[in-house]
Symmetry: C2
Subunit: 437 residues, 2 copies
């Protein structure tokens, strides 16, 4: 290689790092968050448990009715009993005590009045002269949730590293678990770089500017939304659009994003006279962890470690390529930084069966139409020429994005898929009637 | 049947309506929204197209470079050309005209300067004495996106009834489609009913009250969040918690929710001395469409049509049963009311293979642990006693909810699943190395 050539393309994507290796490098070099905070569980949805979540008490703390009916003494059954009152659910003070020969109406979930040791379901009694008549024996403990039936004091309900979901909170509140110690949020900044970019404000202005050759910024916004949706333990505290002036970007990172865990740059990662990512890393005194991913769609994805420990991650400026970077790399990086063992609903919730054979030389995102057939999600990739990162209009034709790997696939092979439009439900073959519901 | 018996349980769930029939009844009796509004596409994510979305122009409106390189005249190739300037993407005024013997540097997506009819990629030229040398012929039109390459004026990009997704907006903005005519939002009110309920404000208070026997309201909040996430063309404009006083509920619906398309009640739908749903419908002058669904978990789900056309839908007060009502019924009702042909990411994005046989007498939600094995999502239902709607703490043990139907299932049978926790990825059998990435 001549000196002249070396100068023309200095260090630009000399060696592409495989995705798995890139994640491993970041796992080794970037420290996960350590600070914790105690939150009400209803404010902790999407946050990561910093310790095993244990029940602080037995629940129920006293026996509860497991059925709508009458709380009685087992030894009074069978028999004819006087109803002296009722204990509906949510009634705080239990005013009645079940003495021999009496009964108290209880609804499911209500605490059992003192003296009672069994519940006779409503439908198992007859009403007679203001009394209830019970025709058979009910053993002590029947139709009762005993103390600690739902949770024992100290029992681990959810382990450390789990992300609290909304349905977890529903379950926890039912047993009076109201607090959780979680890690603090990962603080993220996003810089969209590109002198050609603008943030649209009105449809008229946007149409005019795009037709003139300017480009609407959508990549950084897309990544912000992906983070909000799929990695809610991280929070984008700043998102800004800057021109490709390296001085400005350097100043912004140093002065405006100096207290963040992660700074994401979209765009500005491609080739140019002098490689801007290395240049920026040099100026910031950052150590480049890798420069270029072995993928198609997101190849310029790069990472560097700033002197203060902030991770600088550069994603492609092309929306689908940046999304690919999120799905392959950033999602896993944020899991690592947040100490996540198990997240909530993942961005890749399904595998799809390929409708046709497919070849791929590198891990890449493939836009596809999606449909259900007999419980199988089938993916029909758009033609190759509609897959190019510059043809984002093809997003509109597709229903999801397949994450394919360097591979040769046959029709029917399963590949992970991000679903962004409801797949069409095809009727079952020969069972058209049942397909609807 | 005796008169006395009839009086004791008046009309309560006399006939359960199958889900498909319930949806059909609502489709026939409830009018979808008709009003429309024109929005910037970036404000229309989640909204329903009220007409086919067509490109208002050819895009690109003039030829664009499809490659980084030099815009030249085909008849000058091969040859040695003088570079007279550059036309980067986003540059609004094209200052140069390609005259015979000259070239202009263009980046991908930039409009072609007048005079040029082909683009020679950067890597296909040599630099020599300030000139570029092109060694072979480049035909006219090579490496150029012609006028209308991405979209033709009048071309349907997305059909009526489609819900705009975030990735659609990315694609549309790239081709200067900045406006969409969409239906107005469905206006929804939610009333959580239950004298025993409270909305937690602090963890200390909540813990104390729940231990005393009160119940934290989580059902209505869960349904509000499901609507926000999966039916974004509907908007919850009011959510309120009321006691089980029928006068209060009647007043609230008549006076505070008189301009809504849909009023959802959670709770207050169960049996009691006089069936509260019929009573409320009577008082409001509403026509009961159905009372009780043929499901397990959400059985009291009911619907009535108010005189002003508002749909009154009663869901169970139990969170998972209400969620079941959302997934089976409300989701489809909102699609109908919003004129939705295809939604965005659906709440049921996958089918799971049962790890063990399962019997079900009615359509029901089954809580399950989830894991991936060789591209197959496998579901292991929690034991039957953990499935009861009163045992919401079992939400915490599960990772997803299976929608099973009246059926006998074998191990391996596929059932639809709502995934709320990332399934565990099990290593491929015999291919442990490749399983990770």
């Amino acid at each position: 290689m001549e000196a002249g050539e070396e100068k023309r393309v200095p260090r630009y994507l000399e060696k592409l790092t495989p995705v798995k290796e890139a994640i491993d490098i970041i796992r080794k070099r970037v420290k996960p968050v350590e600070d914790t905070v105690v939150l009400p569980v209803w404010e902790a949805v999407g946050r990561v448990l910093a310790e095993d979540l244990r029940s602080p008490h037995d629940f129920p703390p006293r026996p509860r009715a497991a059925y709508d009916g009458y709380a009685v003494r087992s030894e009074d059954t069978p028999g004819k009993l006087k109803v002296i009152g009722e204990a509906p659910i949510g009634k705080v003070e239990i005013e009645y005590r079940v003495e021999p020969g009496t009964a108290v109406y209880v609804s499911t979930g209500a605490y059992l009045p003192d003296g009672a040791d069994t519940v006779v379901p409503e439908e198992a009694v007859r009403l007679e002269d203001g009394y209830i008549v019970i025709d058979k024996k009910f053993e002590a403990g029947k139709n009762i949730d005993p103390v600690g039936f739902y949770a024992r004091r100290g029992q681990v309900l959810l382990p450390k590293g789990y992300v609290l979901t909304e349905l977890d909170v529903v379950g926890l509140l039912d047993i009076a678990v109201t607090r959780a110690k979680v890690f603090r949020e990962i603080r993220v900044g996003i810089i969209a770089t590109g002198t050609e970019l603008f943030e649209p404000s009105s449809p008229e202005e946007a149409e005019k500017r795009i037709l003139r050759g300017e480009v609407a910024e959508t990549t950084a916004k897309l990544i912000e939304n992906m983070i909000a949706r799929y990695t809610p333990w991280a929070r984008v505290v700043k998102r800004v659009l800057l021109p490709d002036y390296i001085d400005t970007i350097e100043w912004y990172i140093k002065r405006q994003m100096n207290n963040l865990d992660l700074v994401i740059m979209t765009g500005g990662t491609g080739p140019s006279e002098v490689d801007p990512f290395y240049k920026l890393a040099d100026r910031l005194g950052a150590e480049v962890l890798f420069r270029g991913l072995f993928v198609r769609g997101g190849r310029p994805t790069s990472a560097a470690l700033l002197p203060n420990g902030t991770l600088l991650l550069a994603l492609s400026g092309h929306p689908v390529s940046a999304l690919h970077g999120f799905l392959r790399l950033l999602y896993h990086v944020l899991k690592h930084m947040g100490n996540v063992e198990r997240a909530g609903e993942p961005p890749i919730p399904a595998y799809a069966a390929l409708a046709q054979p497919l070849k791929s030389k590198r891990p890449e995102p493939i836009k596809a139409k999606l449909y259900w057939r007999d419980g199988v999600l089938v993916a029909e990739p758009l033609p190759r020429e509609r897959q190019l990162s510059s043809v984002t209009v093809s997003n509109v034709e597709a229903d999801g994005i397949l994450l394919v790997d360097k591979n040769e696939y046959d029709a029917g092979d399963l590949v992970p898929v991000m679903v962004y439009r409801e797949p069409i439900e095809l009727p079952k073959e020969g069972k058209r009637e049942e397909a609807e519901e």
